[in-house]
Symmetry: C2
Subunit: 352 residues, 2 copies
């Protein structure tokens, strides 16, 4: 990886040292866990609060400014170059670390990464991807909020970005890619979605399995599901909300009578493992794809294990050469087809 | 209701006599149940298969043609005036019945109703609404697929259509209306959604509670939730799919060990009532709003009770004067504001 320090045997992750809703202790615990597994960390936060001096493999870069969830991300990132997320992104851009991890504001992370890290050649719009906590094989779902409006060629780029990540980081040999829309037939959806379907059906280098409907998403019928950032954001939060309401209703059902309560008690261990399968903590969070370094955004409500998983995912992106492999897939696609990027020259100019 | 036969004390529903996946017996059973409750039925289907001769309050209108799920709805509706759904819609338009009910193709039902029944004054785009089977107070959600692309003023019309239906048919005094998007702040979403928010915040006659995110939908924080037909269709199917996957995973958890199995057995009665709460059969299906008569579209997989619920919902729309009350709310909104319909004159011309 170009941005990774030369000769470093261990992956180095730049971790935002602010933004954990449960406090600095969670970040510090996560850093200790990741460091114990051989991941090097550069944490941008307050040394006194983190209390990590002397921990092998962990370097605290003293930082006192940060960007909160309630701030307008683009303006905040532009005006606060010394804030933790902007410094962490700059550290990755300058080669101090190979990837970025944060559990702070998603908007600030996207803005800092998009401004601070360059886009891959041919990528016009970086996309935010999540691993849906579907029981069994998780599904990579993008875009979940980086772009509320997209054009057909952006959806096609998302397909390539998702497929490359799925193969490189998740180890799925030839990921099946589906397009989220309102019906299985190729003519279903908005004109932009119909056009994206046509382009994807003709694209080389990915295994496009066609249109998917909302109900297919939790059923795991594809490895990668692509959509625009508006639909994706609504869908992601809806899935999380529905799973919560259903499991809550089951908890209520278990309390509805003494007999049901006994049943609930007996089922508790089995339900506990189910809860873990659906918990977003276990997947490490969202990944911003399409940049020259990986950026992982975990939930602000994460515990130490959730933050550690975000760091592990960032480290895995470095180790598996996720960015290089994505670039290779995009290059081979560009070599065979010209319509991947509508105006590759314009994208190139912005990038340079 | 203009289209309802003068002086009829009992509501009369035109029922499509085809389209039930479980066969004609389901339709006939549903007709008997609804008729026993005082609903008059005119069923457009094959008399021999339905076997309803002599049933009090049920009239079979012999029909042998129908439109299937796999057909292109608009072309089929235009070319087959004698098909059951087109004849049923025509019957409502001509005053034979006061509302339409079907469990056949949703697309054909929308096309037949939109072509056959006139739109309410000021409504440019009829919308398909469903009652989400959320535990507790159900949520009216629209549009779930009639319009894959909408403009801001269409979303505003959906808000009025949904609020009027919620108040008239569901009996909710002053329904809270929310706009589905990607964040709580008024600036979140596509430019069209942001503009719709601005218009809704200024609108008279409805209780606009602001933006909702995907996770708010199953939580029941509003009585009516509006969105475009693309997002709505994906969201509806995703909710159904997620509830199915989660309950399936719980069933699997209950089978994972003899102790858990015993627990599952003890919880069965409580879980059964939960399953009923989430079952789409109990809500009667989707309703096409914005026309001068109500049109209810139930699930093709419905059993007799599901079909009967679709008929009951159609009858309730007649009894509660849903269409008249919607027209009143739209009129009062038009009287106070001019931006509800972008081009009311053009809409008027198409309608006439």
């Amino acid at each position: 990886m170009a941005n990774q320090a030369e000769g470093a045997a261990k992956p180095t992750v730049a971790l935002d040292g602010f933004g954990a809703e449960r406090g600095f202790g969670v970040l510090a615990d996560a850093a200790r866990r990741a460091a114990a597994e051989g991941i090097r960390l550069r944490i941008f936060g307050p040394p006194d609060q983190l209390g990590l001096e002397g921990v092998e493999g962990v370097e605290v870069m003293p930082t006192s400014e940060w960007i909160g969830n309630e701030e307008e991300p683009v303006a905040a990132v532009r005006s606060r170059p010394e804030s933790s997320i902007v410094r962490a992104a700059r550290d990755v851009a300058e080669g101090g670390a190979g990837a970025l991890a944060t559990v702070g504001s998603t908007g600030a992370a996207m803005a800092a990464a998009t401004f601070g890290l360059r886009r891959l050649h041919g990528v016009q719009r970086p996309a935010l991807a999540v691993l849906l906590p579907v029981p069994g094989q998780p599904v990579l779902f993008l875009d979940v909020g980086a772009n509320v409006e997209v054009r057909p060629q952006h959806l096609v780029q998302f397909a390539f970005l998702g497929a490359a990540f799925s193969e490189a980081v998740l180890g799925i040999p030839r990921p099946r890619v589906g397009l989220l829309t309102v019906g299985a037939e190729s003519g279903k959806g908005t004109p932009d979605v119909v056009e994206a379907h046509r382009m994807l059906a003709a694209a080389q280098g990915i295994d496009f399995v066609g249109n998917l409907e909302g109900g297919d998403l939790p059923a795991g019928v594809a490895d990668v599901v692509i959509t625009d950032g508006f639909t994706g954001n609504v869908a992601l939060k809806l899935m999380e909300g529905t799973a919560k309401v259903v499991t809550g209703a089951i908890r209520d059902a278990a309390r509805s009578s003494p007999i049901a309560a006994t049943g609930g008690l007996l089922m508790r261990p089995a339900l506990g493992s189910l809860r873990r399968e659906f918990a977003s903590d276990t997947t490490g969070g969202a990944v911003l794809l399409g940049l020259r370094s990986a950026a992982v955004v975990g939930h602000g409500s994460s515990g130490a294990e959730g933050v550690a998983n975000a760091v592990r995912l960032a480290a895995r992106c470095i180790e598996q050469r996720a960015v290089e492999r994505t670039a290779e897939l995009l290059r081979s696609a560009h070599a065979t087809r010209g319509d991947l990027a509508e105006r590759p020259d314009a994208a190139e100019r912005i990038e340079a």
